[in-house]
Symmetry: C2
Subunit: 322 residues, 2 copies
């Protein structure tokens, strides 16, 4: 189907960072036939990636120069705290490049890009894919298949780069969900960052008192699933959650309010029906969103981005151009 | 190895209830070569189970009479709210039977057994196995393989029935974890009941506001895993959690305290390291308990039950007699 559409590029891709997400993107874009190269801050990772057949260097400036020459799409795939250093190199070497990222918060990244690489043609992105494992070795080309890939759709963004990011997402097998960056951050606070913190608390409560190993000895699937993401490398969770502080506070307060109300009901009447039934309904509602409506969009005119944001709010996805 | 041990019986088993757990137990004990029959309150379920080749009736009295005649082990596999009616039949038809249960709380069951079937030789049990699905069709013979199966070890219990329950658990492929009933209830509040409530709250917060479908459209594996048990039939969750109110309140308060402290840290310094690192450590600690020390025990003498309880507190398991 896609081959018949008007605009499809084979734009080259430069991936800064070769961890789980960057490394998977290198593999997926290569598999999709793109010209792809990347960087890693770690000489060991770069050597491993090269041994695996990928063009990965520790020389960020060289990678960015090549991107500027080929008008490639540069993808920032490093944790939030590492972004300022990278963006200073972007501004020095490839100041007007096509730029996106795969970081799990969007307002903070947009802010730092505006500050440190203001000439870059930046459109933020966030593929909703990950595993508890991290690093190059954990990556694979299929990581993004069937994942939602958020593409920022705030007014004023460059529509040509928007299309580049969407086409990269499709090339990796993802569905494109357009969203304003602040709405993205509120959403992921609820469905990704809060789950990481709740998992941490659940694991800690489950471990219980010292010298009592009975709880963990009895822990089965409800504990295993509920705490799975507590096994993620703490640095990654902290970079993600602490970078989304305001949105996360709202989600935490929502959770605390509901838990407090449940505590009150349990202590007074002993009844938990309101909590349990609301959770059951919400989980069913989520299951129903697994088959989103698919749209082909016009990427033209002053209202294009507003229309895209509206699709995202409906939970719908963009699958191509018309 | 087990064939060489002194005490192994092929005691017949009567299972009251043919839902997920009872139905799986019927299959597992049959596969282990035991004489097994069961009951269901539903004529449809009984007919389906019979069509599947199992001896299941709606006539509870007939099933219990046969248990009394054969000195079988009677296993209560109905939800807590359905127990009083069943126990009245036990007291009327098989008053001194060998009796255990597979209900997920232990203090409340012990109380109602003491009240309604006081002559029964009761030793409570709880296999830590389950799925989100329920009912006969969801059951299978391997459900209990490698699961922890708690066997109550309070002073005064009948050691001969204790051995029956342990041998049934082994026959189903489980590890036996001895525990006092109140310690069991505190432990499962932390690692099973609280996870169900946290999952319900997480699902509800994730669903967010009406008319904003973006959060659920972006929900990926951290949300999917963290809310999985929110998909359990609400009646089952309510029966389980509301039957363990006091222990659950303590676990909820522990979680609320930790979430509140986290909220304070996020709002003031923005730091989440204490929460995230404690969760990571606890999750690693749990992973380390997956290979418990295995014991063969003497089931003799006045201290036998106290010794068993101590093993459970260390997170260790009983795998045979010596």
């Amino acid at each position: 189907m896609r081959a018949s559409l008007a605009r499809m590029t084979d734009r080259a891709v430069c991936v800064i960072g070769a961890g789980l997400i960057g490394g998977s993107l290198l593999r997926a874009a290569t598999k999709a036939g793109r010209e792809v190269w990347g960087t890693s801050a770690s000489a060991g990772t770069a050597a491993t990636a090269r041994a695996d057949g990928f063009d990965v260097t520790t020389d960020t400036d060289a990678a960015l120069r090549r991107a500027a020459e080929l008008d490639a799409l540069v993808v920032l795939a490093v944790p939030l705290p590492a972004l300022p250093d990278v963006l200073r190199r972007v501004d020095a070497v490839a100041p007007a490049c096509r730029l996106t990222d795969v970081v799990s918060v969007k307002v903070a990244v947009a802010d730092v890009v505006r500050e440190l690489a203001p000439r870059a043609r930046y459109v933020g992105g966030h593929p909703m894919a990950g595993t508890v494992d991290s690093g190059w070795a954990a990556g694979h080309a299929a990581l993004f298949v069937d994942a939602a890939w958020v593409v920022a759709a705030d007014d004023g963004l460059d529509l040509d780069v928007w299309a580049d990011v969407a086409e990269l997402a499709w090339a990796c097998g993802s569905r494109v969900v357009p969203a304003a960056v602040d709405e993205h951050d509120l959403a992921v606070a609820r469905i990704s960052h809060l789950p990481h913190l709740m998992a941490a608390v659940l694991a800690t409560v489950g471990a219980g008192e010292q010298d009592d190993d009975l709880p963990l000895a009895l822990a089965a699937s409800s504990f295993a699933d509920g705490t799975r993401v507590a096994g993620t490398r703490p640095e990654l969770v902290l970079a993600m959650c602490e970078g989304n502080r305001d949105a996360l506070l709202a989600a935490v307060d929502d959770a605390l309010g509901r838990l407090g109300a449940m505590r009150g009901a349990l202590a007074s009447t002993g009844g938990l029906a309101a909590t349990v039934r609301a959770g059951f309904t919400a989980r069913q509602q989520w299951a129903a969103t697994r088959e989103p409506l698919e749209h082909r969009v016009h990427l033209r005119g002053p209202a294009a981005l507003a229309e895209l944001r509206e699709l995202g709010r409906w939970g719908e996805v963009v699958v191509g151009w018309e």
